[in-house]
Amino acid sequence: MKKLLCIILAVCMITLLTACGSKPKEKTAEFKPALDKNRECSITVAGSYDNFEALEAEFDRFNKTYPNVQLSYVKLDNYENILGTVLEGKDAPNIFFSYNWMIGNETYASVSGHMEDLSDAALGLDLDCIRPGLINHDADGRVLIAPVFSRTYGMLVNDDLFKTEGLSVPTTWTELLAVCEAFRIKGYASPMMGYSRKSSSCFMNTVAYPLFLTALAENPEALALANGLDPAAGEYMRPALEAVLRLIQNGCIDLSACDQIGDNYEKVILRFFEGDVPMMICTGDTVSGTKKRESKSEAFSKAPFNYSFAPIPMTDDGGYFIDSPSVEFSVNKDCDNLDMTNEFMRFLITKTELNEMASVKRLVTPTTDLSIDAVYAPFAQVPSDHVIFPEVLGIKDPLTVQIRVAAFRVGTGEITVDEAVAMYGSFK
């Protein structure tokens, strides 16, 4: 017994002494480096975001393997217009934000010309970890752009408020109307809210766009007309516009209350955090700002609640998950340190890192694993036939302008649904 005690004490001493000078080992990622880990170089990522903490966190994680690689994110002013110039200049970035609409667009021919084919097997990127509908192949079958976040449309739901009021989160259009009525009766003037001051990111578009895409998805001919901005496609907007109007007219949304919200991002979030809004209509981009603003909101800090982001149940079959890329990266194939740049991309384009980044940024992950963030859990429940990939469908950017402006103007009462239908193709 005494010997055992001696041994235990000695082991404790040694453990204590050795613990003085050691640091806990950090868990290393499964990423296996292919280059010299002591390599010294710098990599720049250029984009339009003011802040990109999620990416900077990835820089730090990459530095655990390559400590001497200096990675930095640079925000470019007038991004879309200056990108071509920057790529040709001395400060050309290694990686840059890119958009699918740049592909095939003559204005961005020089930009496209710098894009590396990420599907090249030699690069070893795990593109299979990304949902196939988010990956765009050009005419030659190349993948010039890799999505790192996904964007979708829906509503922030104050789950605790529903529980408090004894109501269930609606999953069909009928339930939605009933829940709104119930909230209204309980004194909630605007059970649903959203940004309504400008057409950009207005709640009307968030409501209408998924319905419009649903209509187009069911009718390929109509899609062609819509992409061609043919007024004949205007009729396919009608159900979407009527739904917007009905929400307002039924008292689900108090437009005057929505007009109090100053912008389509921070103010929307802070309004939702006031805790008296059962449902706040917004895009995933807005949801990305919620985590950081929890501490900024005095109301939320005082009375925090559980919330989630769910599809708006615009049909009796439920809501739709419009799954489109939000932020996409291209590699400048003419940059310095291209091998290390591709090494970083190989590190980044994995389920682990993309999920990690989406978790930090609180955006929808582009990977096949949607359950990573509880806030987006409702979207993981959406059946596959209710998932629409605009990129796969072939939605062109001008089309999105038409439905956005039309929905905004109908929602604000500026024009009627009939007028909007007739004006398709003419909205700016």
Binding site: L9, G21, K75, N78, V86
Partner: protein, 844 residues
């Protein structure tokens, strides 16, 4: 204290020490870190001055251009041309932008070589120009932005200028931007000190937005950066930001990697609301490296100390356990010994008591009583030996065995040895030889008692363990000693006894050890003799060696370096003469001849009686008779007595003949004298003995040798005996009375002194003084007597007669002024010897 507690206390002490070292180290670290931080802050302030000078310099260039353009009423083309001429920096450029259209011209072309147009419409820089002051009023530096001409991240120094329409001269407001690439600036804008090479700089405006941003600074705003990676509440954060943008100082914060960093801040004096930030990880301050080394070193040292102490403690514990085992073993041995002693003591006691009872009942039967008394004496002597051995070993074990050296004759010692051993030798009919070689130094200064004990123990063991008819030989040799003033005495006793097993030999010097042997068990012994002998030999600085083989015999060799006494016999030289030595023992012959020649005589030798007879006859015929013939009694063909008889009858010579015998010659005395022997000499043949005997034989010097049973010299002596015990008094007075000595008793020391005071001169020949007595002990009484005025009384011989038998008691007695010591129970032979010695000393 239990071992566990010792370990716990040790560990606690180590923890306390380590905690102290850690705390002290941390304290020192904090001080060092604080100094480093202060240094970092000061360097930041220096950097602010340097940066401000640089920015002011750049701004002044812009100011000069603006003043010149304004003074010359230039068109935009004129202004651009002027600046192109003035511009010297290769990577810098200038933009002139109309405030109304936010477009204008650049001094450098864009992607297309001929295109000098520039537009700031989408740059979000010049929509609000309230940050631009008048010329020379302040540094009008823009935030970092993307140069719309070449896409480089740049900053611009700005001034308002007025341009004129080339056609109508209408003035228009415009902004002149002196544009510098950030990359250019980054190369120059670094900390000068090497220790801060990893520090990074940023410049922020009053809202925390970066004007120039270092690599480690994240987000577009420093405030946002701080909030993103550091837990804080809005109020605290706001207070911190206000402090950061309005004062100089530093604080720690976490960077994007979760590392603790130091951020130093200082406001720009010349630019309202701007702040310079310096940022670096705390680890790079290198404040604690040495202290960790110290802690590690101390920890390792304490650990080694702990392990060492633990090992030593375990080692000592093992030794203690071994000692405890030995002590237990010794205790067991003692218990066994006591058990044996009880038996050994009870056995002679039983004999004494039993025989005394028998004697009492047979008082009328003189022969039976005599036999009983003889046996009682034997049992008493054995008991006395036992008690002496126990006392000796007790002293040996307590370390109190001291030596009491005195001058004595080694010849006497050997004689004593022989006297003591003769009875047993005789009884067991053992063939006994005692040879000496060159014993030149007769007087030795050593502890005679202990030396006797050593020699007797070894010899008595040899005799004891040799079966009847066996052989015991003693060789004593004197050699030169390495020690100055000493001789080396080698005492070798060999026997043909039962021998010893190797197992027993390994432990034979331990007290209470006796060989387990059926033959040995029948022999009386204490198991202490060898232990005592070994201790005494060690105490005398000698060696004892033993060679033994079971069934064949044992050889003990004791070698001692003994100091030579100052007193030696004068030069012993005989007159020149011829002496014949006859013995069948070659060694004796050799040593005897050697000894005789050293006495100055010519010695011949013969190995048998017949040969001696022949040689004597031959000498006789030639008229050269031997002066003395010394012959051995026991010889193979004809023994010594027969040889003497034949010499006397066949040669008809009166040659003095000495008969040598190793034994008591009383048995053959009569026959030898009748045969014509003139004298006897016992082995060993010491030089002095031969000298004395030959002189005595030739009548050169007559030694008065008292007949053994002649006590006439003691008749009429009166001795005072100080003895408190009635029985003891009765014994000593009766026994002395048997020798014709009268006695008077003093019951204690005081009475003894009184008697001496009152006694007439010569009343007493000497005093036998007991030591432990009531009223006044023997020592005090001796001191009083020695202090008496009467010279006779004060010098009267006093012999201690006491049961205090230890050597220190003897020494104490002699130191007190006594002349001798006799231990109780008394041996009358010793008493008589002591009386004669005193008498002899008085006569001389």
């Amino acid at each position: 204290m239990k071992k566990t507690w010792v370990i716990i206390v040790n560990v606690l002490i180590m923890i306390v020490l380590l905690t102290f070292v850690v705390f002290y180290s941390n304290y020192e670290n904090r001080n060092t870190a604080q100094r480093q931080i202060e240094h970092f802050e000061n360097t930041t302030i220096t950097m602010e001055h340097v940066t401000e000078n640089y920015l002011e310099g750049e701004q002044r260039i812009c100011d000069v251009w603006a003043r010149y353009i304004n003074s010359k009423e230039m068109t935009i083309e004129d202004a651009v041309s002027f600046i192109r001429i003035s511009h010297v920096l290769p990577n810098a450029s200038a933009h002139i932008v109309y405030l109304d259209s936010l477009s204008g011209l650049s001094t450098r072309a864009g992607q297309e070589a001929s295109d000098y147009t520039v537009s700031y419409k989408r740059v979000d820089l010049l929509e609000d120009v309230s940050w631009i002051s008048g010329i020379g009023e302040s540094i009008n530096i823009s935030r970092a932005y993307t140069n719309p001409v070449n896409g480089e991240q740049s900053i611009a120094f700005c001034n308002f200028i007025t341009l004129h329409d080339p056609e109508n001269g209408t003035p228009s407001s415009a902004v002149l931007l002196r544009v510098l690439p950030i990359s250019e600036l980054e190369q120059k804008w670094v900390f000068p000190q090497e220790e801060f090479e990893k520090a990074e700089l940023s410049m922020i405006d009053a809202n925390g937005n970066y004007i120039i941003k270092g690599h480690s600074f994240k987000n577009s705003s420093f405030f946002e950066f701080y909030r993103s990676y550091n837990a804080t509440d809005p109020a605290s954060a706001q207070a911190l930001f206000e402090k950061t943008t309005s004062s100089t100082g530093s604080f720690t914060m976490l960077n994007s990697r979760g590392e603790k960093c130091i951020l130093a801040y200082t406001p720009f004096a010349a630019t309202q609301g701007w702040t310079l930030l310096s940022f670096m990880p705390m680890n790079d301050l290198k404040a604690d490296t040495e202290n960790w080394l110290l802690i590690s070193f101390v920890s390792a040292g304490l650990l080694i100390l702990f392990v060492f102490d633990l090992s030593v403690m375990l080692h000592f514990n093992k030794k203690l356990q071994a000692s405890a085992r030995e002590a237990a073993s010794a205790n067991k041995a003692k218990t066994d010994f006591l058990s044996t002693m009880s038996h050994d003591i009870r056995t002679p006691m039983n004999a004494i008591i039993g025989l005394t009872t028998i004697a009492e009942k047979n008082l009328g039967d003189t022969e039976a009583v005599g036999e009983n008394l003889r046996k009682i004496t034997l049992a008493s002597n054995h008991l006395l030996t036992l008690i002496n051995d126990i006392l000796d070993i007790s002293k040996v074990e307590s370390g109190k065995l001291n030596l009491s050296p005195q001058t004595f004759s080694i010849v006497e010692t050997v004689e004593n040895l022989l006297n003591l051993s003769q009875p047993m030798i005789k009884e067991k009919n053992i063939e006994f030889n005692f040879r000496t070689s060159r014993m030149e130094k007769e007087y030795i200064y050593a502890d005679q008692l202990r030396l006797n004990q050593i020699y007797i123990n070894i010899l008595s063991n040899a005799i004891k363990y040799t079966e009847p008819g066996g052989r015991v030989s003693v060789d004593m040799r004197e050699e030169e000693s390495q020690k100055p003033g000493c001789v080396q005495l080698t005492y070798r006793v060999s026997d043909s006894g039962i021998g010893m097993s190797p197992e027993f030999m390994a432990t034979m010097y331990r007290p209470f050890s006796r060989q387990v042997d059926s033959r040995v068990n029948s022999i009386q012994g204490t198991g202490l003799g060898l232990a005592i002998t070994k201790q005494m030999v060690d105490l005398m600085g000698g060696t004892i060696d033993c060679q033994s083989e079971q069934g064949k015999g044992t050889v003990f060799t004791v070698i001692l370096d003994l100091p030579i006494a100052d007193r030696q016999r004068d030069d012993m030289m005989l007159e020149p003469m011829d002496v014949l030595v006859v013995d069948d023992d070659e060694i004796l012959l050799e040593t005897a001849i050697d000894t005789l020649e050293s006495l100055g005589v010519t010695a011949d030798h013969a190995r048998s009686g017949l040969e001696a007879l022949g040689m004597i006859m031959h000498r006789n015929k030639t008229g050269r008779d031997y002066s003395v013939v010394i012959l051995d009694w026991k010889m193979p063909d004809i023994d010594g007595v027969e040889t003497i008889r034949r010499i006397r009858t066949e040669v008809n010579s009166n040659i003095p003949i000495l008969l040598i015998s190793a034994y008591d010659w009383s048995d053959i005395e009569e026959a030898a004298k009748k045969a014509g022997a003139n004298g006897f000499v016992s082995k060993p043949l010491f030089r002095s003995k031969l000298y004395d005997k030959i002189n005595e034989l030739l009548g050169t010097e007559v030694k008065s040798v008292e007949p053994e049973n002649d006590y006439s010299d003691l008749q009429g002596m009166n001795i005072l005996i100080a003895e408190d015990n009635d029985i003891n008094w009765e014994i000593i007075s009766t026994m002395l009375g048997m020798f014709g000595i009268t006695t008077e008793r003093a019951e204690n020391g005081r009475i003894c002194v009184e008697k001496m005071k009152q006694a007439a001169k010569g009343s007493y020949a000497l005093i036998f003084m007991d030591i432990q007595m009531p009223e006044m002990n023997g020592l005090d009484a001796t001191r009083k007597i020695r202090a008496l005025d009467d010279p006779w009384a004060s010098s009267i011989p006093i012999i201690a007669m006491t049961a205090d038998a230890f050597s220190e008691n003897v020494t104490e007695c002699l130191n007190t002024g006594m002349n001798g010591h006799i231990a109780k129970p008394i041996d009358m032979k010793l008493v008589i010897k002591e009386i004669r010695r005193i008498k002899e000393e008085k006569r001389s």
